[in-house]
Symmetry: D2
Subunit: 256 residues, 4 copies
């Protein structure tokens, strides 16, 4: 394999936004690849995250990522516990369920603002702290000081009806990612935006068994979170001569 | 002229975000075209707006458009004073000067959040109130119940370095506009997003003289606000068989 | 009206690709606006075009626009008969009916190549001749030496299944238009790409009666060619401080 | 590694368009990964290709990929010699040097048409033959019947001035790829478009030594063809639950 080996134990990954889906798949794959891994969530006591700690030694952190001070503290704690992160994944959807599929005329403004804060503003806070730390890293064999990945949604690609606030938040996250990519890539930090264009949503997995999709009809239009995690690892390992900024992942049967 | 005449005095325009540039050009053109025009700003006592009142009878309103209650009250007052709006322009840039061209690592988070609130969230509030009222309008001769136009910036098209928060806000506004367009157009409300791709910014005009660019070198890469206003009026007058959602306006010499 | 008057009789428009739809609407509107108008088609003896000559004095030309020599001759003849064109519309769809909705595995390669030649390559030939002549024009009151408009289709925005060759051709036309816009706009020539995103296609009109859509259900998702022509005229009249490059026109009820 | 092993010797790759850059890197990586590899070029006797045969057992084919019959014969010969292809890479740039950076008014139309034929039309021919054969393949462990990858250029993302014909060709290739992706992905064939956004062009490599960029300044804005080949292999190995259609690869210091 021509990709440089990052399994030296020095690679530190932080996943912000934790649950049984993408973040758990990332945590498992990253630990298997030799990284020290931390995961942050509002509620770090969810069973999926407790399980990650038990089975994979993943460190759990409580953090409301829409609060500047909380995010700053999170990164301080990660550096203290695990070391300076080289891979940071922002994995917060942030959509308020109260306004799911609500007409623009019916959506409560405070829910719309919370969606913006939870999703886009927390991405700003996490991206800012990540960039500050990564600037001080030494480039690895691929010429990379660090990788910042934003999980995004199809609403980043297209503003669908009945979801104005979520379209705002996802587009905002894309705009932030693009600005950060143009600013930070020439400084050695790889920034990527990964909209998952899966209509039905991600497969919920229990975190203990293998997760490869069985190929049954029922799963066909879901994105397997283990496969998403693989793409994230590939992005982190890309040589800086050929960085991808945006990768849209989409199940084979998805209409687009 | 094949476009239907809207000069019946029934057409009511509300411009949210007011200063000597685009909003003043819009106010002048809309009144000349027979509309009753209101203009809202945090500070409605700016000389440019006082002048619009004197010379064109434009009604001024004080409004912090990032506050839900203030925006609701604004629309109530406009309906009371002028009638139900058929054309609403959201013309707030919202960029906080404190973070202009600041590295992502240096931008103050509270300024970033304020940028989101001033620009994208206020667009949500204004768009929501406009949609609520327009739903009750009778379609005009072009089949239009009303037109909602969002002034946007080149940061909506491309996330530039050193402007992460502004890229977030402008992308957010585009995402909102797209979602509203897909939701509201089939209900007879025309929604448009108009990124002005002018690097140097809009010409500042005094509101009393003619503003056609003289063609001198110094003005060549500025967008004339009077020309922008003309495009807005054309969008408002488009027949619903051929609605444009996004129009990027760019000076002839602009690099893109 | 702040737009400069072009009705001096000096404005010359050439429409390449002629039939009863967009081109006839353009020819009527342009002549009413005081332009001298020529229209070119493989078969200039179609009833719609004969009718345009009779009722509006439009000059007809026979031209296979996929042949370089034929296009060169066309422009020579137009200059001789009408004067140097200031507005050129390329209005050729070029899709070969033989491969309409055919699987990529079933489409005949020669039909695919003909689609490319008829649509994209003819756009190149027409754009080239137009640019050569317009470079010599004196800028008008809007600072414009001339306007080149490419009618395009939704396949320019999205490659749909079962239409690989048409997607190629429409995307090619967009790429050409973009390159020409970046090259020619700073030289005073306005280039525009106008994808008509109408699924059912344009209303066929007979060229003699008024064409405003009646608002009946059956017409609701068709783009009225008279409205398209109005947008073309507005693009031609835009001041160079605020040129639009791409305008997508879409009926209000269209899904996108 | 959770990706299924494709090193069984059954995987057959065909690279159309061969030289010392991307195609040689692909040929080396694919053979190392256990595939049987064929490479086609107008002139298969180039030293780089002869070398690939000697050192890696790559099979060489002469083919003018802009000729339908030649492409059909190529695929027949590959099936006969190596077996049914599961990975096909179209790697033809097709730009005619005669019109490189020529004004639209100066470009020879026959060169423009040749650019379209060499690039976009050959992509159609190659994609068509690939799809025909892959439809008959049995899905592998990732649920994939085959992968078709189009190498593309930054002119696919943006029409630059002075390159109208190349912008046409690259946009056309993107349109074709998109249409094929929407048509073929739900049938189990992964289609990908990979614009390489490298201004200076790809590093020319001699095909015998390791190619990892040394990190010296001179190489910094070139895309390493070995890294591009890795991305192609990753795309081929993606599980169908998370297929990427478009990946733009760009050196870290590239302006975009």
């Amino acid at each position: 394999m021509t990709q440089s080996d990052k399994s030296s134990g020095q690679d530190v990954a932080l996943i912000v936004g934790g649950g049984p889906g993408i973040s758990s798949s990332c945590a498992r794959l990253f630990t298997k690849s030799g990284m020290r891994v931390g995961i942050a969530a509002r509620n770090p006591d969810k069973p999926a995250l407790q399980n990650l700690e038990k089975t994979h030694g993943v460190r759990r952190y409580a953090c409301d990522a829409s609060q500047a001070a909380a995010v700053e503290l999170l990164f301080q704690n990660v550096v203290r516990d695990l070391g300076r992160p080289t891979l940071v994944v922002h994995n917060i959807d942030g959509r308020m369920p109260e306004i799911f599929r609500k007409a623009i005329t019916e959506a409560d403004p405070s829910n719309a603002l919370d969606t913006l804060r939870n999703s886009a503003f927390s991405a700003f806070l996490v991206g800012q702290q990540a960039a500050r730390l990564m600037h001080e890293n030494t480039p690895d064999a691929n010429g990379t000081k660090g990788t910042i990945i934003f999980t995004n949604a199809s609403a980043a690609l297209k503003g669908f009806p009945l979801s104005g606030a979520f379209a705002m938040a996802c587009h905002a996250k894309s705009g932030l990612a693009q600005s950060m990519a143009r600013e930070l890539m020439p400084q050695g930090i790889h920034v990527a935006n990964v909209p998952i264009d899966a209509a039905i949503g991600q497969k919920q997995v229990d975190g203990t068994r293998a997760h490869r999709l069985a190929g049954t009809t029922v799963d066909d239009n879901m994105a397997d979170p283990d496969c998403i995690a693989e793409t994230y690892l590939q992005l982190h390992r890309q040589h800086r001569s050929t960085w991808a900024f945006e990768v849209v992942l989409r199940p084979w049967v998805e209409k687009w």
